[in-house]
Symmetry: C2
Subunit: 143 residues, 2 copies
């Protein structure tokens, strides 16, 4: 099939969270809150800003902010350099917030998994479920 | 100070776990049990075996089994390659099991943090507390 070499897979998670987009936006963009539901980081919401997400066990992601539309859209690269192609990940994470009733529809798409990265893709599906559970807890207890 | 260039820091965690060394050994060496308390992996307990520990978010560690003394000692490298020296980790994890009463004294040492890797060192201290909490849960519910 023409173009098959560039085919990639995405992980998509969608949730209704019973809080305002503004409140969820803070959890997505304030470093001390990101650390509570995702990972330690030196994030800030400026397009072009490069930052790292750091797991407690030594793993590190290389990220760059691609798009910022306050309370609506946040997008950044989510890359992991590894000598083994199966683990060398170049992906993009995009959050989209849409008001819904008194709450917010939150959509997260992580795109860029190659077809030979089934393991990483499966891991991300499990990982984002856990991240979203913690995100909802952080949003619920912060103003 | 002479030799300062090779000075490294270690994270040490010690716990008394009220189960036999044999039972704890299984949790340390069976891949499906390791996945429950630590990370997904292709471990096996043969000296020289190379394996990966894989976080659900894309982070990957490169490991090699260094020492295996069943029910007593397990040691492997715990390396993370990164262009930024602060995140380029070359460390060794060693578990030592010692019978104590009807249970086991478990000691984990992760050695090799350079003095300029304070962040990774602090993260590992937090990470191992969480890993041990899950390890104890896995040991408690398996035979």
């Amino acid at each position: 099939m023409s173009g098959a070499a560039t085919e990639t897979l995405s992980v998509v998670v969608e949730r209704e969270i019973p809080y305002s987009p503004e409140r969820i936006w803070r959890a997505l963009t304030q470093p001390h809150l990101i650390a509570e539901w995702l990972m330690k980081n030196d994030f800030n919401a400026d397009v072009g800003h490069r930052f790292n997400l750091r797991g407690d066990w030594g793993g590190v992601l290389d990220c760059e902010v691609l798009a910022v539309e306050p309370n609506k859209t946040l997008s950044y690269t989510w890359n992991h350099t590894h000598a083994d192609a199966a683990f060398n990940l170049e992906s993009v994470v995009t959050f989209t917030l849409t008001p819904k009733g008194t709450g917010t529809h939150v959509r997260m798409e992580q795109s860029g998994f190659r077809p030979d990265q089934k393991q990483a893709y499966g891991g991300a599906k499990a990982g984002w479920r856990q991240f979203f559970t913690k995100l909802e807890q952080v949003v619920a207890r912060t103003d």
